[in-house]
């Protein structure tokens, strides 16, 4: 008797749910559907505006190359945001690493592998510094990385003396640094090794997050650090590892960056920060930590790339790209907030 009345009650509840509420619940259970929906919508939008030009293999190759940097930084950013943190310094770390690689190899004449390794080391050190400040000194990630963004940026300007190392110089002294720009043909599209590198990094981080204990600990740390600690997880160590790994990925992104633009410039990659955060958030990773996915981030990076490319093709001034990305991130955060409310 009691159970029938309970069931009646449940189905009553079910009926009263509006379609919107049900959609919200569906998204809560399947957050990765959002980026796919948004990607489809944005492709539809821009193909309507600019027509077939958008689908030209040459243009798609271009989108993919633009997306490569955003996606690599996005995987680093995903790791951080999963721990309920944020890293505003990813772009600065990438550029600083690329300048270190370039100046040491081209201007200082160090052996290229050594210069390359030192560039990677700079990324690791930057990440370690962020991790130390966040995990050990317990400072808020937003403020820490806002500060280090500025610090790494200043170091970069000082060390590079605001000089650009031209493409020709890099090609002569350190062709290895441009290796990621090597392209090959795939179904009529031009694919660079940088894009392959991106896929390898994404696959590696996916594996780490979904198939290893470390991945479980990253999720638990972002989900509820207090509970994670009581469950026996080394939260401080996990955070430091995450920020350091993110720094390393940023320095690998530096390699992809040099391959993409050929030259090495202290002012490249200016939009990388916001783009990577936008990619992660629109990709369904929650800024509140604990939930998210690498696949979502890759799709999120594609969305950002499609917006930038579509607007450029439509002949809009580049300021409208910034406008659109700004809008996109606010909408993404609003959606995230709305989905989180489902359990309340």
């Amino acid at each position: 008797m009691a159970s029938t009345s309970q069931q009646a009650h449940v189905s009553f509840d079910e009926e009263r749910r509006t379609p919107l509420k049900r959609f919200q619940q569906f998204l809560h259970a399947n957050p990765t559907t959002i980026p796919f929906i948004v990607l489809a919508l944005s492709i539809a939008l821009f193909s309507a505006i600019v027509g077939g030009r958008f689908f030209h293999p040459f243009n798609l190759s271009l989108v993919l190359q633009q997306v490569t940097i955003i996606a690599i930084l996005g995987t680093a950013q995903t790791l951080i945001i999963l721990t309920a943190g944020i890293d505003l310094s990813v772009g600065a770390i990438m550029v600083l690493s690329s300048v270190v690689m370039g100046r040491l190899a081209v201007l200082a004449g160090l052996p290229v592998p050594l210069a390359f390794m030192l560039g990677l080391l700079v990324g690791v050190a930057c990440g370690l510094l962020n991790g130390f400040l966040v995990a050990r000194l317990k400072l808020p990630p937003f403020i820490v990385t806002l500060g280090t963004w500025s610090i790494f940026g200043a170091l970069n300007l000082w060390y590079s003396a605001s000089q650009t190392i031209r493409q020709q110089e890099v090609a002569e002294a350190a062709p290895f640094l441009q290796f990621t720009g090597t392209a090959f043909n795939f179904l009529g599209a031009r694919i660079t090794l940088g894009s392959i590198l991106m896929l390898i990094i994404a696959a590696f981080i996916w594996y780490l997050l979904n198939r290893t204990a470390f991945g479980r600990h990253v999720h638990a740390t972002g989900d509820d650090p207090e509970a994670a600690k009581l469950a026996g997880i080394n939260v401080t160590g996990t955070l430091i590892a995450v920020y350091t790994l993110a720094g390393f990925i940023c320095s690998v992104a530096a390699w992809a960056l040099i391959g993409r633009i050929g030259a090495i410039s202290s002012i490249s990659g200016a939009t990388a920060n916001l783009d990577s955060i936008t990619a992660v958030v629109i990709g369904g990773t929650s800024l509140f930590g604990g939930r998210g996915s690498i696949i979502g981030t890759l799709v999120g990076a594609l969305i950002v790339g499609v917006f930038r490319n579509g607007l450029a093709l439509a002949g809009a001034d580049s300021l409208w790209q910034e406008f659109a990305i700004g809008l996109l991130i606010i909408v993404a955060v609003a959606i995230d907030q709305w989905i989180r409310k489902v359990s309340a």
Partner: protein, 267 residues
């Protein structure tokens, strides 16, 4: 009154398995633990009762490495220990169901049960790529939940946040019981449970006792406490007021001592 001179109804000639002496913990001006004594003997069920804010959870946290006491010492099987993290206490065989359950809402039931002690695959992938043995963990998690018999869970991969309060409590209890090898501590394990589910947890506690493991049960439910406890530790104002045996006192006497309406007995 010297606490150590009290009759704590300790079994004769048996050394405590877990013991605390003179524990102190302050939060600013609040003294959460005020020179508290604690003893747990092998094979017993020790209930800890006390008013809200008496400092029960704080004492449990100090015993299990979740909180560092300002002073005092903790002894496990007579040896002095200093747990610098819950992990250290777990490694020593002490499993705890914390009052706030310590579950990760977004992780699955199986992930939560194995959180912090994940098992790697055998062979190459596990050894060199640290691959988790997810099938094994799922299977074991399901086994532990079934043994508990208090959950009707269809999907072991379900995120914990989708479970009811009682089911969550079940997951936390299953985790502690599955891994406890020396001591199991439960801070209000039946608080969110219905009558039937509470019964199952009590049976489970008796089951664990039969396996030879001592249990600390913190509870506000006097009938439960008086039914299954061997000894009752009454906590008041951050310290142990006394230890009584359920057969010697009525529930209302225990509550009176707990609230200070009645003087703690000195035998």
């Amino acid at each position: 009154m010297n606490q150590t001179e009290q009759n704590t109804h300790a079994p004769v000639g048996v050394a405590p398995i877990l013991q605390a002496r003179n524990l102190v913990k302050r939060y600013g001006h609040v003294v959460a633990i005020d020179h508290a004594e604690f003893e747990l003997y092998p094979g017993e069920i020790l209930a800890v009762i006390g008013d809200n804010g008496a400092g029960k959870s704080s004492m449990i946290k100090a015993l299990t490495g979740a909180l560092r006491p300002d002073a005092g010492e903790i002894l496990l099987e007579g040896r002095r220990v200093e747990f610098d993290s819950p992990l250290a206490a777990r490694a020593a065989g002490i499993e705890t169901v914390y009052q706030n359950l310590a579950l990760s809402p977004a992780l699955s039931i199986a992930d939560n049960i194995f959180l912090g002690r994940e098992r790697r695959s055998e062979g190459f992938l596990g050894k060199y790529f640290r691959k988790l043995d997810r099938d094994y963990m799922r299977k074991e998690a399901r086994k532990h939940l079934n043994a508990l018999g208090l959950l009707t869970i269809q999907n072991i991969d379900q995120p914990v946040e989708t479970l009811s309060g009682g089911q969550r409590q079940g997951v936390a209890i299953a985790r502690a019981v599955a891994f406890g090898s020396r001591v199991v501590i439960m801070d209000e394990p039946t608080a969110a449970l219905g009558v039937k589910e509470s019964r199952k947890v009590l049976d489970l506690i008796l089951d664990v006792k039969r396996r030879g493991l001592p249990i600390v049960l913190i509870s506000h439910n006097m009938p439960h406490v008086f039914e299954i406890a061997d000894r009752i530790h009454i906590h008041r104002l951050g310290r142990r007021a006394c230890v009584i045996r359920p057969q010697d006192y009525s529930m209302s006497d225990a509550v009176a001592i707990m609230t200070g309406a009645k003087e703690a007995p000195v035998h």
